[in-house]
Structure formats: C-alpha cells, structure tokens
C-alpha cells in the first residue's frame, strides 16, 4: 500500500513536470495578453511580474512550490485566480461525466449480463453489434446526429446550454455511448467466463435459484476486472467530455481549457490539467480500494 502511494507521488511529480513543459510549449503568452500598443518596457514588466524572465528550471521550482500550496497563479487573461475558473467549470463537467458514467455502467452491465446469460443467438449478436458500433462512433458526430433528431426534427430536447434537466439528456447519452460499449464487452466476456466456473455448476446442483447464481455469485466474481476498468474509463470520459462540451456548449472544463489553450493562458491550463489528472489518480486509487473490498483474496 505504501509502495503504491509512493509510486503515485512520483507519477504526480512527473505529471507536474509534463504540465509545466506543455504549458510552456504553447508559446510566449505576452503578445496575446498585452494590448497591441504595449511597449517593450510593458512587456518586460509583464514578464518580470509573472516570473517569465527567470530560467526554466527556476520557473519550474517556483511552480512546484506554488502548486503544493494550492496556488495556481492568476489567469493571464482575466487577472483572477486560475483555480477559480477550474472550480467553476469542475461542477458542470463532473455532473456530466458522473451521469454519463452511471448510464454507461447501467447499460453496460445490463447488456453484458443479458448477452452472457441468454441462450438466444440473436440477442448476443445484437449486443455485440451495439458494442462494436459504440466503440467506433465519434462522440461529436453522435451528438450532432442526436441533436438533429431530437432538437431540430423532433423538437423535444434543447440542443445546447445548461440549466434544466432536459439539457442533460442528450449530452449524457452522447458521452456515455462509447463507455457503455466497452463496459458491455467486458461484462459479457467476464460473465460468460464466470458462468463456466466449477462453483456455478456446484450451485446449480445444489438447487440454488438461477437469479441468485447469476446476479449474486457470477456477477460478483466477474466484477473485478470491470471495476478496475471503470477507473480507466473515467479518464476516457473526461477526455470525451471536452469534445462533447463543445458540441453542446456545455459550460464545463472543456470550454475553459480550449479557450485557455487558444489564448495561451498558462495558469489556467496548468490548473485544469493538474486538477483533472489528480482526480483521475484519486479515482484509480479508489478503484484499487474497491477491488480489495470486493475480492477477499486481495486483502492481505
């Protein structure tokens, strides 16, 4: 456990280095931030104020120090703490991602179990088709298709923006499709394998009801790889959210970071990326703990 934490810390350090490098790669923000009439002296002043005139290693150390104190600096564009923007966008993005994850798990588990347990070849084929399709469809295209169908042709749902429950429907569905396809495949494979186990055979011979065998025993045994995958899937969902947010004009992190990148707003870029990555690592840690809870063999 300690070793795991240590590894996580080192990865985190590496991450800060990467983020720092990436943000610096986007180029010198000075010309973008300062108005065009700014003089060379203004530019010099600006650079000095933000420590941009120091050498790179020093900048990194300063950055590291600040980050550990939760200080991501002040946005170049808006002169407000960068972390504020991240926090503002975090809520909507997490809600979108969370709901999409929930939908994906429900649909994925449901279809996966159905396909694994059903003896009907056509059900299996349909589910597999859905899984293949879901993994191949670009989310932005799906979003556009859904918007056309349900907002334009059949005016049932809003096409963009944020506010009512109705606004959630299309973005959540769009975002969840890829994830639910992957979860379906994983569930189906693991459930099929679990259903072949000796103990499942034994439970049938003992006369246990089929529902209990499938949903209590087989599922529990199949769930470990699925739960592990959910951690990874969360990261993918966060990435997908960025694109989906642009399609639906969803006021989340996606909008914020794309804007920040286009305007080379280092502090906001750094803040967003680091917060996202930390969240991802925390989720993975939570996944590991959940696995230990689920599988008694892992509890050393």
């Amino acid at each position: 456990m300690v070793k795991r934490l240590g590894q996580t810390l080192v990865t985190l350090l590496f991450l800060t280095l990467m983020v720092f490098a990436l943000a610096r790669l986007t180029g010198d923000p000075t010309p973008l931030v300062l108005p065009t009439e700014a003089t060379a002296q203004d530019a010099q002043f600006f650079r000095h104020q933000y420590g941009l005139d120091r050498s790179l290693p020093v900048q990194y150390l300063i950055f590291l120090g600040n980050v550990s104190r939760g200080d991501f600096g002040v946005s170049f564009r808006y002169r407000e703490p960068a972390i504020g923007f991240v926090m503002a966008g975090l809520g909507p993005t997490l809600r979108l991602t969370g709901l999409a994850m929930l939908l994906a798990v429900v649909v994925g588990l449901g279809l996966g179990i159905l396909a694994a347990v059903s003896r009907n070849v056509w059900i299996d084929r349909l589910v597999n088709l859905y899984a293949s399709f879901g993994q191949a469809v670009p989310s932005f295209w799906l979003g556009l298709m859904l918007v056309t169908l349900f907002s334009i042709n059949l005016p049932w749902l809003p096409s963009s923006g944020h506010g009512t429950a109705g606004h959630y429907v299309l973005p959540v569905i769009t975002l969840s499709v890829f994830a639910s396809a992957s979860i379906t495949r994983l569930t189906r494979a693991n459930m099929a394998e679990a259903m072949q186990s000796d103990f499942v055979h034994m439970e049938r011979v003992l006369g246990l009801p089929e529902a209990s065998i499938v949903l209590r025993h087989a599922l529990r045994n199949a769930s470990l790889p699925i739960v592990t995958y959910l951690g990874l899937q969360f990261g993918l969902l966060l990435g997908g959210a960025i694109v989906t947010e642009r399609v639906f004009a969803w006021p989340g992190l996606g909008q914020i970071i794309v804007d920040a990148i286009l305007h080379r707003d280092y502090p906001v870029i750094q803040a967003t990326v680091l917060v996202t990555a930390v969240m991802f690592m925390l989720i993975n840690l939570a996944v590991d703990v959940t696995c230990m809870v689920l599988d008694p063999r892992l509890r050393v």
Binding site: Q7, V10, T11, F14, L15, M18, L22, A23, L25, T26, G27, A115, V121, D124, R125, N128, S132, F133, Q135, A136, V137, P138, S139, F140, W141, L144, M145, V147, T148, I152, N153, R185, L186, R188, A189, A192, E193, G235, L236, L238, G239, G240, I242, V243, R246, I257, V258, I261, L262, R264, I269, T272, V273, T276, A277, F280, M281
Partner: protein, 283 residues
C-alpha cells in the same frame, strides 16, 4: 465467445466484411487523388447542396451529393481517406516503434531505468489524451505533420507498457538464461527472442489503435485544431456541415458513417486477431 466470433474464429477465417473494408480503404488511401471522380476542391457553384443520388434533386453526377461550395462529397470522402488513414497509420507505426524500444529498455535494464520509464508511462496515461492533444496543438499548431506528432505522443505509452510486461515474463524463462550464458549480447536476445513473442500483442494493439487514432484526428479536425483546408479530413467535413444539418443532412452524416465503418472494420480485424492469437482472451 459470441456466435459471430465463433463462426469466424472457429474456422480460422478472418471476418470477411471487415477485411474487405480494410483492404478497400488501404487501396483508396494509397491511390489518393487519382481515385476521385472530381478534384477534391473542385467547386461547382452551380450544383451546391445537391443531395445524394437516391433523393429528390440528386443525380448520378454526384453520387453522394455536394456541399455548400458544390464540391463532390464522394471525392472528398475518398481524399479524406488518404489523410485519415495515412496520419493514423504513420503515427501508430512511429508510436509503436518508440514504445516498443522503450519497453524493451525498461524491461531488460530494470532498476532505475525501468522505474523512470514506467513513471513516465503512468504520467502519460494519466492524462486524458485529448487534453494532451489540445495542448500540443496549441503549442505546435495544426496541420498534417503536427497531427501525426500529436498522435505519436498520445499513443506510445501503451506499447511501452505492453512490451515491458512481455519482457518481464519472458526474461525469467530458461531459453533466455541459456542465451545469456552462451554470451549473447542483451540487445540481440531482446530482438531475436523477446520481440517475436511480443509481436502478436503489438499487432493487435496497433490494429485497435488505428481506430482510436482516426477518431482522435477527426475530433481535432472537427474542433478546427487538426487538419486544415485545403487538405481534406472527415472530421473537417463534419464540421463544415454542422450548420446545415436540418436540410443538408448528408454533408455531416456521410462522413460520420464513413468514420464509423472504418473504425468498426479495423476493430473487427484487431479483435479477430486477438482471439486467434489467444483463444483464452474472450475479450
């Protein structure tokens, strides 16, 4: 194993439809602009927004219709095939090579080198790849070469991880120890013995990655950060048609369907190969 997989895998035959699609796509990609009925940016302003031939107002002159500038959709789809497939293919190839080399290094050298490489891998995998892609694009700009670079950076890590675990599992085996005692240089052992064993998994990963890369590229192009005009990309075509969805559905829908079909074909091939190499992995 699904019924479909059983049918295909059991007879040792690849999924024919998927294989045919992939072959067709590769051929089209290689032929490039030669294969298009019209030049990809030939704008026939007298035939703008023509629907596909099966709809009212469509004609056989433009099988899949035209866009707002009267450019033939079919030609642009074909032209886009080249860009999408070549960028994805080139990127995966380079990413794979880098990843494999680093994985070999990490697995074989062990110790500090291994630790450093693996922490880098973890860090790269910790970031959602779109995030990284966006940052790189903003730094380097858009366009074909930068797209390839972006896809290389976001993809190498999984190959490194894969190859490293293969190395570790093979390292302990007897034939490697024998080779080492016989005085064979480490890099020779790595290339001659370890790599062929790992090649199967690498190929499967590469095939499955092509789909991912295509989606990544089209996502970026859609956002305006990827392939730029006058080059053609499916994602770009999709973005062009966004505003006309309600009355000119084909401009957006057809490129999207092309992406879906392409990715499904490569995925099906990759899945079949995976099942063939390791029948136990019913994934």
């Amino acid at each position: 194993m699904s019924a479909i997989e059983q049918e295909a895998g059991g007879r040792g035959r690849p999924p024919m439809l998927a294989l045919a699609c992939c072959v067709l796509l590769v051929i089209v990609a290689v032929l490039g602009d030669i294969a298009t009925p019209y030049a990809k940016d030939f704008a026939d302003l007298s035939a703008t927004l023509a629907p596909p031939f099966w709809q009212d107002g469509g004609s056989l002159a433009h099988l899949l219709g035209t866009d707002t500038l009267g450019r033939d959709l079919l030609s642009r789809l074909i032209a886009g095939t080249r860009i999408s497939l070549l960028t994805a293919g080139a990127a995966i190839f380079v990413a794979g090579t880098i990843g494999v080399l680093l994985g070999l290094l990490a697995g074989y050298a062990g110790g500090l080198v291994d630790a450093i490489v693996m922490r880098a891998v973890d860090a790269f995998l910790a970031l959602p790849f779109i995030l990284m892609a966006l940052a790189l694009v903003a730094a380097l700009g858009s366009g074909v070469e930068n797209m390839i670079l972006v896809m290389i950076v976001t993809n190498w890590a999984r190959y490194a991880r894969l190859v490293r675990s293969e190395v570790l599992s093979i390292k302990g085996r007897d034939f490697v120890t024998l080779a080492r005692i016989a005085g064979l240089a480490p890099h020779l052992i790595a290339f001659r013995h370890i790599l062929p064993n790992a090649l199967n998994s690498i190929t499967v990963l590469a095939l499955l990655d092509i789909g991912r890369a295509i989606i990544l590229e089209s996502s970026l192009s859609f956002l305006g950060l990827g392939i730029q005009p006058p080059e053609v990309s499916w994602g770009l075509m999709l973005a062009d048609g966004k505003a006309y969805m309600s009355f000119a559905w084909w401009i957006t829908t057809l490129p999207g369907l092309t992406i879906v079909a392409t990715v499904m074909a490569f995925n099906a091939l990759g899945d079949w190969l995976k099942l063939r190499f390791d029948p136990r992995a019913a994934l």
